[in-house]
Every structure is written in C-alpha cells, then in structure tokens.
Amino acid sequence: MKTIKILSSLAFALIAITAFNSCKNEQKKNLEEVAINENDDANNISPDSEISVIGYKIGDEATDFKLKDVNGKMVSLSDYPDAKGFIVIFTCNTCPFAVASEERIVALDKEFKSKGYPVIAINPNNPEVQEDDTYELMQQKAKEAGFTFPYLYDESQSIYAKYGATKTPHVYLLQKEDGSNIVKYIGAIDDNVRNASAVKEQFLANAVNELLEGKQISVKETKAIGCSVKQ
C-alpha cells in the first residue's frame, strides 16, 4: 500500500515537473517571439545594417531570380534574351513614395522596354508585417495602376536582401555584359519623389540613356526618402 502511495506521488511529481517545464518552454518561446518582433520593429537593426554592407555596389554582378508575378507566372531575368539590361525597382503597394512613383515607373517601362531596358518591379515586403502588401493586393495594384511590367513577389525575401534594397522605391539599373547583369546605377528615379512635375534631374532615365549612348554614367548613386523594407 505504501509503495503504491509513493509511486503515485512520484507520478504526480513527474507530471508536475513536466507541466512546469512545458510552461517554462512556452515562456521562453514567448520571449523569443518578442525578440524577433523587436527585430522586425527595429526594421532590422542588425540584418539591415548587414544588408547595406553585403548589398550590391556599382560594378557588382546582380543575381538572377525566379519570382512569381501577379499573373502567377514565374519570371527571371534570363527570360529576356534580347534585353540589353534591366530597370529593377523594389516597390510596394501603399508606401506613399511608391504610390507617387507609379506613373513614372509605367512611363519608364514604356520608354525603355522597346530600347532594351524593361522594368522589373519587385515587392520585397513581408505581408505579415505590412498587411497592405499581400500578393492579392499586388494583383489589384498592378491592375489599377496599369502596370505594363512584371510585378514580382519576393516571397522568401531573399532577393531584396541580396541586392541590398533598404526601402521602396529603390532602383537598380543593370546592364548585360557577357551574359552577366552588372549593376550600373543604384538609387532614386529622379530628384523629386513627391512631385513629378517639379523634377529637375531624371537620374534613372539619364543613366539608361547614357548606357544606350555607350557613355559612362555620370551620376551612379543617388538617395531618396523611402519606406523601409518590412521584414
């Protein structure tokens, strides 16, 4: 009888310990979640600063990718054998600076696709952090804004990180050289994101035109305010 008593006590103790441990685990998990969230909020304090270090510089070879466009088709740079290069723009659905740039991006594609430099737009944001940037809303955006170019979803968030894009919009102008895509210009579309009619310097268009004329690009890097990429 006594043995049974001891045994049952032991069993309870065991259950209690297990319960306690699982509880601790849960708390630990919670803590981890908080830590991860903090990183997210921090807009990626360390990841971001790392990215800005590993991101592309002028002259680097840019990676190709295989990302889903708003029609469900997978798109890669290698799908464009006739292109001379690419205007890769990291952009998103609702960032005011991205929205303010939409018409200009459509105009750039119209002007330069036929000359060999099509626009490829990529949404780098994590829709779990930025709920306006889901794939479904991308489809809606592409339709409403009349996108004439592929609007791709960087679902694994690996491509923007390789490029080093920190914000939307963030432009990378690539030129094909011996089968590689070389980064020729990084930065803004022009010198006035807010107001297209007040633009004085069309940085990106100038750079593409210089490439088309076989010249050196005079302004290789520019800065603009943008919405940080939501990891």
């Binding site: 209690a16 306690f20 800065k223 305010i225």
Partner: protein, 186 residues
C-alpha cells in the same frame, strides 16, 4: 496527503498561467503609463503650429546647436508604421529626461499637403509632446547625405548629437535601446 501532489501540480500550472497573463498585460500597462506621463507633463506644444522648413533652415536651427544639450532628432512620417511604433519611446525619453539637457525633435517627412489632414490630427490623437517640424525639401538626394553619409533614405532614422559628437542610426528604437544610446552622450 494523497492530494498534496495534485495540489502542487495545480499551483504550478496556476503560477505559469499567471505569469503569461502578466506578460500580456504589461505591454498594455506601459502604454497606459506612457499616456499618463504625457498627460502629467503639460509642456505646451501647440499642434496647430507645425512649421515647415527646408533643409537649410533645419540645418541652421536644429542640426548644428553648439550648446551643451543633447539633441535627439528622429525622422519619421505618419504613414511609416515602424516610425509610429517607436514614437512612444522618444516621447518617454523626452519626459523621463525632462530635467536634463535633452531635447527631442520629431522631423516629419510627410508630404506638405498632409499637414492639416494627417499630421496635426495624428499629433493631437496621440498627444505628442515633443516638438514636431515638417521638413519640406524635395531635393532628398541633396540633403540625405548631409544628415549622414550612411543614410540610405529609409525611415525611421535618428541622429543623436551634442556639440561635435554625433551618431546616426538607420533603425527603430525601443525605449531601452534609445536610453542606452542617449546615456553615451550624457
């Protein structure tokens, strides 16, 4: 006697759920506490008077102060989610360090046509106490490198400076992180 282990078991479970409950609540209480703090501190920042300045004016009036105050300058916008999320940290710093020579300036990069419709209502609703100015200067490529050559242009971004010592941060802050950085200037 037989019931004792069962009892202990439940107590442990209970304590566990208690702790979880507390963690959840603490987030809310800190927000409440913050709001209270702000209400107590009645510095009269009048939200109706948000001034718009260009970069030259900003640089002259806010970015090159030679006195012995520490200036915390945060670049934000009402549409920038991580910016809005970190504002309470800046407000709490301003309130906690009100007795010391610490000044918080919130530099809004909202579009100028949104002052009335968006920025002022936001400031009122959230009872923002720190000074807010609107940086209205389209030539971002010209002035971003003057804030810091390290800045990609993504917001939020923050500069902390005291006289000649300055540091730039392209990141979000929690209160603790901001306080840690501030202390390196005090």
């Amino acid at each position: 006697m037989k019931l004792l282990p069962v009892f202990i078991f439940f107590i442990i479970l209970q304590s566990c759920s208690d702790k979880k409950g507390k963690t959840k609540i603490s987030g809310i209480t800190s927000e409440v506490a913050l709001t209270e703090n702000l209400q107590v501190k009645k510095q009269d920042f009048n939200a109706k008077k948000i001034i718009s300045i260009n970069f030259e004016e900003f640089e002259k009036n806010y970015f090159q102060k030679e006195n012995d105050s520490v200036y915390i300058i945060n670049f934000w916008a009402t549409w920038c989610k991580p910016c809005v999320e970190e504002l309470p940290a800046f407000e709490k710093i301003a309130s906690d360090y009100a007795g010391e020579k610490v000044k918080v300036l919130l530099v809004s990069l909202d579009f100028p046509d949104k002052i009335k419709g968006q920025v002022i209502p936001f400031i009122k609703k959230n009872k923002i106490q720190s000074e807010v100015v609107l940086l209205d200067d389209a030539d971002a490529n010209g002035w971003i490198p003057k804030v810091s050559p390290e800045w990609s242009g993504a917001i939020p971004a923050t500069v902390i400076y005291k006289k000649d010592k300055r540091k730039f941060y392209e990141q979000s802050f929690t209160f603790e992180k901001l306080e840690t950085e501030l202390k390196t200037f005090l």
